[in-house]
Symmetry: none
Subunit: 259 residues, 2 copies
């Protein structure tokens, strides 16, 4: 039996909204440690990996592993039925046909329950190894979001060049080119505003802006994004959940024609 209670429905809402535009169906794998999701986007390019740790719940209990095959669009509609600050509880039996979502108003005695029919969803669970990256960037998630939104107007690709003392995002299109250069910067008063670059080796990589646009939908989940880059390796874009857990996106860079 699974019983997971969020102190604020808005957390689950943000999580689901962050991935539902690129993943339609996915399995929620519930274990005693929390809930994980692994899925590829519909074009099978972007890999999404979510962990909602046990600590992100105000109450959590999962006696044995349970898989919930969820249609995220329907689930999203259900989540919108609660208010952001309601308690939200997920309930499922050990071999469930349905998952129950329960909202409780913190003041009034209002309780809403929604049952969602589950689906059988095929999916291999990939073991993703921790690895060493050439460059690791930490920056405000909103700033990364704006860069992606701005440069998307110019072309379909975003080039990221990390050197010892700067990160350059740039895009070249028919109508013009654009670039944003960031220097590492530490804001004592507002640490979340800091830009941190950890450089093992310089990198020069290009990504599809279509996928980056999906990634930045998670911006509201965390004030900071961590971008880990290495040559010819899927990049990792990570949003850490304050309450415990993460939403990670893996995206392979575009390769030059001669590779």
């Amino acid at each position: 039996m699974l019983e997971g209670k969020f102190d604020e429905a808005s957390l689950l809402k943000k999580i689901v909204d962050s991935i539902k535009d690129c993943v339609k169906l996915c399995n929620f794998n519930c274990t005693e440690h929390g809930i994980t999701v692994q899925a590829v986007d519909d074009s099978r390019v972007l890999l999404v990996s979510l962990l909602v740790g046990q600590s992100a719940f105000s109450e959590y209990r999962c006696d044995r592993d349970i898989t919930l095959g969820i249609d995220l669009e329907s689930f999203s509609k259900i989540i919108k039925c609660g208010n952001n600050e309601d308690y939200l509880t997920l309930l499922a039996e050990d071999s469930p046909d349905n998952v129950m979502t329960i909202f409780e108003d913190k003041k009034k005695e209002r309780v809403s329950e929604y049952s969602l029919k589950l689906m059988d969803i095929d999916s291999e669970f990939l073991k993703i190894d921790d690895m060493d990256y050439d460059s690791v960037i930490n920056m405000p998630s909103g700033e990364f979001s704006k860069i992606v939104r701005d440069l998307k107007n110019l072309s379909e690709s975003l080039n990221i060049i990390v050197t010892k003392d700067s990160v350059k995002f740039s895009s070249e299109g028919e109508n013009g080119t654009g670039s944003v250069v960031l220097k590492p910067y530490t804001d004592m008063d507002h640490p979340e505003e800091s830009i941190n670059v950890n450089l093992e080796n310089p990198v020069d990589l290009t990504f599809g802006l279509k996928y980056l646009s999906d990634i930045i939908k998670a911006t509201s989940l965390a004030g900071t994004i961590t971008i880990k880059l290495a040559d010819k390796t899927p990049a990792l874009f990570e949003y850490k959940l304050d309450a415990g857990g993460y939403l990670r996106f893996y995206l392979a860079p575009k390769f030059d024609e001669d590779d």
Copy 2:
């Protein structure tokens, strides 16, 4: 001669917007006590009953009874020509071909006049008797609106069960089910947030969400909705106008096949 002046054009705008989606044509019956409208929606299922009391006007005069046959879509377009906070005056002769709508800006000396051609509209005026209901619910109109919008995602019918200490709204569809349970609740500081249930007899009734969706368009007219229910009897959904009057909707419950 009719001369009715609203202190705020927005009041008439809200009223017309509240009913124009389900009623295309209707008679405005003007008497010395104010203006009443009675109409059925286009599918002849929902009965709409409006009273704009004399007190809702800042100035009101109606020497003898006048009937204004109005096309609400055209009228709505005219009303949108004023600003919300303008004075709005309705003018009509005793046997009018037209009704005049006059907007006056409160500060500027701007006056706009629009004349709308009237129509001959057949309609029996039903005498609706006050009656005793089994259950009477008072709740925030916005909360009722949200319940209808949320449960409409699931199916076409809304079931309402009122018992001694709770009101349960529920809906069952193919992809899942949903329910909202409210307990009576008194908010001293914000009385409009209170939920009040007056129970003579428990009820268990089902309504078409299509019609309820039309009803909740009146939400902005009043902070509170009163729902009066009785077995095998049209339910009454009432929005009271602060300034005096009401907008009432009568909707018959769905009957079980075996009735």
